[in-house]
């Protein structure tokens, strides 16, 4: 199916004409089962793995020496790690929103991109989940956050927003994995049945758990998938709300904001759509999926990004407006320092990248210009990291206690951990590219059937 047809300028078709279900099945499974590993994969994987090794080194040194190797100080006791965490978990939302939310809305464009998005989610969540653990002063006691009976008769402190967060990320990890895996079952069965090599048949046979595709299976499957989708959509909102509460639950000026839960949900959505876009744009070419991931998909993602950007911009506005509206002196101090203080360059960078640049997506030709779109999405992903950095650090550096005011200066280990976590994500994602069908084949069959019947009418 290398010659998947493509019509560059058509923004309405979710499937290009001429694409058939068997062809999709064959192409997608051959990518995993038959294709020789392409050079770009090796290059990409090699680079990713290099970064991953950097991550291991950074974390290893962290474990040996302590979190003092980072630039965190007093009063800025949280730095990159928490910013990274929020960033990763925010990007993870992209997969869940596309898979779950747009499943509920029965959006056609969802089918072809859901797998890429969900896979991204799983590895983003992994990166996110690691951050709060390694950021602990005594990470080896992280299990104290579990409520388990112990000889000390002690329990976690359930009132802490951090504990909510701990529970939420745990549930989100479980949810993302299950949602992803359940959705993969029929495709694993396809791979099992198409595979010719024994190890592939065994591997995918095991992964498929004995999926038969019987009407009984499909009935339960649809029920479960629908339920999961209905659950994951609020769950993804809840986790970002709770992440927002991590900050809003505190007294620190700049954090103590009632709007943080939706603020963080919007931010998560923006970065999530952006990173999906960043993955989809090159992958549809690299994996020759142009027939099923069409200009329509890209257009939809771009529009979503624009929507999320507008929502978030509103929050940005409120963030600055509220301190002055309330007249709270210390909140004003933080706001002023964002606008013109030490972190102002970062603040304005985030405004430009997250609020201003995405406005070019109003223009149709921009949405058609995939390289430009990629850059905008990249800008958003970077901008969203900056946003979290500014939230974490910018507020703490202008806290209630003026005598403690200080700045945060990241160390090489901060950057190494950040870069390394990107490596961790990419390494996982590249491996997934090689072993997991990147398009949900059964959903496309359904979609194609639907298109067929529609076309027939």
């Amino acid at each position: 199916m290398s010659a998947m047809p493509e019509t560059e300028r058509n923004l309405t078709r979710v499937v290009e004409p001429g694409v058939t279900a068997p062809a999709v099945t064959a192409h997608v499974s051959d990518l995993v089962l038959e294709r020789r590993t392409p050079l770009w994969w090796w290059v990409g994987f090699g680079l990713s793995f290099g970064l991953f090794v950097l991550f291991l080194v950074a974390v290893g040194w962290l474990f040996i020496r302590g979190i003092g190797i980072w630039g965190i100080d007093w009063p800025i006791a949280w730095g990159f790690a928490i910013g990274n965490y929020v960033w990763w978990v925010g990007m993870a939302s992209g997969g869940t929103l596309i898979s779950a939310l747009f499943f509920l809305t029965r959006s056609e464009w969802r089918s072809a991109t859901s797998r890429i998005a969900e896979t991204m989610t799983v590895f983003c969540v992994a990166c996110a989940g690691i951050m709060p653990v390694i950021h602990l002063g005594r990470w080896w006691y992280f299990y104290w956050l579990f409520p388990y009976p112990n000889t000390m008769v002690l329990w976690p402190q359930f009132r802490s927003p951090l504990h909510w967060d701990f529970v939420a990320i745990l549930v989100y990890v479980a949810g993302s994995l299950l949602f992803w895996y359940v959705g993969l079952l029929p495709d694993f069965a396809t791979l099992r049945d198409r595979a010719r090599r024994r190890w592939q048949r065994v591997l995918y046979g095991l992964l498929a758990l004995g999926w038969q595709g019987s009407s009984q299976h499909w009935r339960q499957f649809r029920m479960l998938y629908g339920l999961f989708a209905a659950l994951m959509a609020p769950l993804v909102c809840s986790i970002h709300s709770i992440v927002g509460l991590d900050f809003a639950g505190g007294l620190t000026p700049g954090w103590h904001e009632t709007q943080f839960p939706p603020y963080f949900v919007f931010g998560a959505a923006l970065s999530g759509f952006a990173v999906v876009l960043m993955l989809v744009i090159p992958l549809r070419r690299a994996l020759e999926l142009t027939g099923v991931i069409t200009q329509r998909h890209i257009d939809v993602l771009a529009r979503l990004m624009l929507t999320a950007s507008l929502l978030l911009s509103y929050c940005y506005l409120i963030e600055i407006f509220m301190p002055f509206y309330r007249g709270e002196e210390r909140e004003i101090t933080v706001a002023m320092s964002l606008l013109g203080g030490y972190y102002a360059p970062w603040y304005w960078a985030k405004i430009v990248l997250n609020s201003i640049v995405p406005q070019i997506l109003w223009v149709r030709s921009v949405r058609l210009n995939r390289p430009l779109l990629f850059l905008v999405a990249l800008g958003v992903v970077i901008g969203m990291w900056i946003e979290r950095y500014v939230i974490v650090v910018g507020s703490l550096h202008r806290n209630h206690s003026e005598s403690s005011w200080f700045v945060f200066i990241p160390t090489v280990w901060d950057w190494a951990t950040l870069a390394g976590s990107v490596g961790l994500f990419l390494t996982g994602f590249f491996l997934a590219l090689r072993f997991i069908p990147m398009v949900s084949m059964f959903e496309l069959r359904e979609l194609l059937r639907k298109k067929q019947t529609e076309g027939g009418r």
Partner: protein, 183 residues
């Protein structure tokens, strides 16, 4: 071939394969009308209408999931209540022991966790998964059911030879092929 590859139930019967879901649905309808009741459909995706024709309605899963959610919420709240009020009451920042609003987020999350786990387990249970071997996998052409073929399995009816009837109901050449399912 009369040797079963070791599961309890017999799958002796016939397998009708279709290239097209509509043909399959059509055939299914005919089979039902002809009085066949032990039927199963294997398809590469969920085909609308099959469940109605086979007269199956999923009810248990939602009930289980709702029950699990309630249980998770109640259990989750109680866990927090137990830890903060009953087991080791501590004055945390002057907040009341039963800070129920603060227990809310975790209660929701734990309910969600219960739904996720219970849903998945119930799904496995109802689908009898994991079940790496099933005699149906040995049915000729079964591997296409996960790709682009739509199969109807028609159980052999006790003491009746339906071969001819089936030939009539599902004429070949309409994209139908009928295979014997041994064992």
């Amino acid at each position: 071939m009369s040797v079963q590859r070791g599961t309890g139930h017999s799958l002796r019967g016939r397998m009708a394969a279709f290239d097209d879901p509509d043909a399959m649905l059509d055939a299914l309808r005919r089979l039902r009308r002809a009085g066949f009741s032990r039927l199963e459909v294997y398809s590469p995706y969920a085909v609308e209408g099959v469940d109605e024709l086979l007269d199956r309605r999923p009810r248990a899963l939602p009930l289980i999931v709702v029950a699990a959610g309630l249980l998770g919420a109640v259990g989750g709240f109680f866990l927090q209540y137990w830890g903060m009020v009953l087991s080791y009451p501590l004055n945390i920042g002057g907040r009341p022991l039963n800070s129920w609003p603060a227990f809310g987020p975790s209660t929701f999350e734990l309910a969600a966790l219960a739904i996720l786990l219970a849903g998945f387990l119930a799904f496995c249970k109802f689908c009898r998964l994991p079940r790496l071997y099933d005699p149906i996998f040995d049915a000729p052409g079964f591997e296409l059911a996960s790709q682009d073929r739509f199969l109807i399995w028609i159980a052999e009816r006790e003491g009746r030879d339906d071969g001819e009837l089936l030939q009539r109901l599902l004429p070949e050449g309409e994209g139908v092929r009928i295979d014997e399912v041994p064992a």
